[in-house]
């Protein structure tokens, strides 16, 4: 192996690793706030990517209609939950969030979708659609069981993954899609060629990490989210709605997923079920970070990306096996370092 190949592989690994880092951070965020291990994160990636790819061809993706349908269900749940004290203000708020918002997104999508729609508009539409799906997914599937154990939440999470993956097949078909690149610029440094796309991956990943750090460290809402993660009862006692925290966590996670998808769909062909594998690699990074540490997760994601790149060069048949085997020594070390603790009750 010469230095050039090594540099190429490293570059490839870091580009993928940056995506895994974003997904890993979202997983840590959602787990910390809601205790949900977000298996459907991969579907946010595919939904974002393939919605963007379909919009680029001028079609309206089925995900926009899915968001609308989920909004209707969420509205029904809100009404049912508030049935004993149906105040007009409460109903109006639920209507605005659950019906008016997805209806507006659907109308915008129908209005703006076309073969000549600018890339920026398509990106914005895909992000809106997937963000709405993330928000409603929490409302429908997780909010009613928020007080149950991690295991129950995990089972619901797997269920959501399967359901969304099936819907993905309906919306996008079994054929893979590719989207247009964000920029066709390229930059050559020594033997390495950086495309505008990979630079966008680096830039957005760093921007997101900084933004998350600022949000959690310096804004009241960010601190409230952290407080919910640290002590749910304490958070409720100061008036922080844990359901709101959960919704924000899912909103951020679905946005991050969709952005990751839009970043990679010009580089690789994505199928309706590709997201799962990508999400799993973010999951490995999150597990190496113990599902609590953001910096450790980001570093682990770069490691996962690099290992993947090198193993696909040396033993491409075993690349997934090698990547997923990474998790074993980490789990062994962690279980040796920390004695078993029973799950804390809320």
């Amino acid at each position: 192996m010469n230095t050039t190949i090594m540099l190429f592989l490293l570059q490839d690994g870091i580009t993928n690793g940056a995506i895994y880092a974003l997904l890993g951070l979202a997983l840590v965020l959602v787990f910390a706030v809601t205790r949900v291990i977000l298996i459907p994160q991969g579907e946010f990636v595919t939904f974002g990517a393939l919605s963007y790819a379909m919009l680029a061809t001028g079609q309206v993706p089925g995900t926009a209609k899915l968001a609308m349908a989920m909004g209707v269900v969420a509205f029904g749940l809100d009404l049912f939950e508030a049935r004993r004290s149906l105040r007009l203000k409460r109903v109006a708020r639920a209507f605005a969030l659950n019906i008016a918002l997805p209806a507006a997104i659907l109308a915008l999508t129908y209005g703006l979708a076309g073969p000549k729609t600018p890339i920026a508009v398509n990106i914005a539409l895909s992000l809106l659609i997937v963000a709405a799906i993330g928000l409603f997914l929490y409302r429908i599937a997780f909010q009613p069981i928020a007080h149950t154990s991690v295991l129950v939440l995990l089972i619901a999470s797997v269920g959501c993954h399967l359901a969304l993956q099936g819907l993905g097949l309906v919306f996008f078909g079994a054929e893979g899609l590719r989207g247009p690149a964000l920029s066709n610029a390229a930059l050559t440094i020594g033997p390495l060629r950086f495309t505008g796309q990979s630079l966008a991956v680096y830039g957005l990943t760093i921007a997101f990490i900084v933004a998350l750090w600022l949000f959690f460290g310096f804004t009241l809402m960010g601190k409230a989210l952290r407080a919910t993660a640290v002590n749910r009862l304490g958070a409720r006692l100061v008036g922080i709605r844990t359901t709101l925290s959960g919704q924000i966590a899912f909103l951020l996670a679905s946005l991050i997923g969709a952005i990751s998808g839009i970043l990679i769909v010009p580089i690789t062909t994505l199928y309706y079920d590709t997201g799962f594998l990508i999400g799993l690699k973010g999951f490995i990074a999150a597990i190496i970070g113990g599902l609590v540490s953001y910096p450790l997760t980001a570093v682990a994601a770069l490691l996962v990306g690099s290992v993947e790149a090198f193993s696909s060069f040396y033993a491409s048949n075993f690349k997934e096996v090698i990547v997923f085997t990474l998790i074993l020594p980490v789990l062994v070390l962690r279980s040796l370092a920390a004695p078993a603790v029973e799950e804390e009750k809320d």
Binding site: R84, L220, K223, V230, L233, G234, V238, G239, R241
Partner: protein, 243 residues
């Protein structure tokens, strides 16, 4: 005086076990009311139910509005605050962040004034404002829990065993502060095993036994009641160090 908090015929159950039976109580504006009683009498259960942490059967009204349909967060917004027995601080966040979150439901400008008030009440917290809440001593944690609750500018502060596990000198400090709250326009509902200290600062008292109120009256009358003196004040030392 109008009742700030009124609870009538309250029942609280854990499954089939009824921990609180047919309890009625009132707290007026600018009043300090204490509920004393032995371990397991149902005092903590009652406070948690008034806050909405546990479901309560019966009628509760706060500042003239029915609280039954409100959840915890709405009760906090209405001006009802609980400092729970286990304090429930945000251990991995610093003192200042804990206090800031206490003011989550109130406007920013008011929060700045609340900070000043809490730091004057507990100068110790100001010294430690960059320290993580989980690394504070027990007394400091209790101060922080009270400070966090006061940040939200509550009308009624409910304190659950504030003296629990603290050294006597710190207990005295905490009780002096509770007395000062009245001057600041905060009513207090205090649950204590340390009956002597509680009766000293309270206006009125209820005595709870096995889930029911068996006595109520002015703190002075209760303190001089023979049965109370025998059951609670006589065993003062055990009461103070009990868990």
């Amino acid at each position: 005086m109008s009742a700030l908090l009124s609870v009538s015929d309250a029942h609280v159950s854990y499954g089939k076990v009824e921990a609180v039976r047919s309890v009625s109580l009132e707290v007026a504006d600018d009043e300090i009311v204490t509920i004393i009683g032995a371990n397991g009498a149902g005092k903590t259960t009652l406070l948690n139910a008034i806050m909405g942490v546990l479901p309560l059967k019966g009628a509760t009204a706060f500042a003239g509005t029915d609280m039954t349909p409100l959840d915890i967060e709405d009760r906090v917004a209405a001006g009802l605050c609980l400092v729970p027995e286990h304090r429930e601080l945000f251990g991995t966040m610093n003192v200042e962040d804990n206090l800031q979150l206490g003011a989550f439901r109130i406007p920013k400008a008011t929060a700045a004034r609340s900070f000043e008030r809490v730091y004057t009440l507990f100068p110790r917290l100001k010294e430690r404002r960059k320290q993580l809440a989980g690394t504070l001593s027990g007394g400091e944690q209790q101060m922080l829990a009270m400070g966090r609750a006061l940040m939200g500018a509550p009308k009624l502060l409910m304190l659950d065993e504030p003296s629990l596990g603290l050294a006597p000198i710190i207990v005295a400090d905490i009780f002096r502060t509770i007395g000062e709250l009245r001057a600041a326009g905060v009513s207090v509902l205090l649950v204590e095993q340390n009956a002597q200290a509680a009766l000293k600062i309270a206006d009125r008292a209820y005595v709870m036994e096995l889930g029911e109120f068996i006595l109520s009256g002015s703190a002075k009358d209760i303190a001089s009641n023979q049965r109370v003196a025998a059951s609670y004040l006589g065993f003062q030392h055990e009461g103070a160090s009990g868990i």
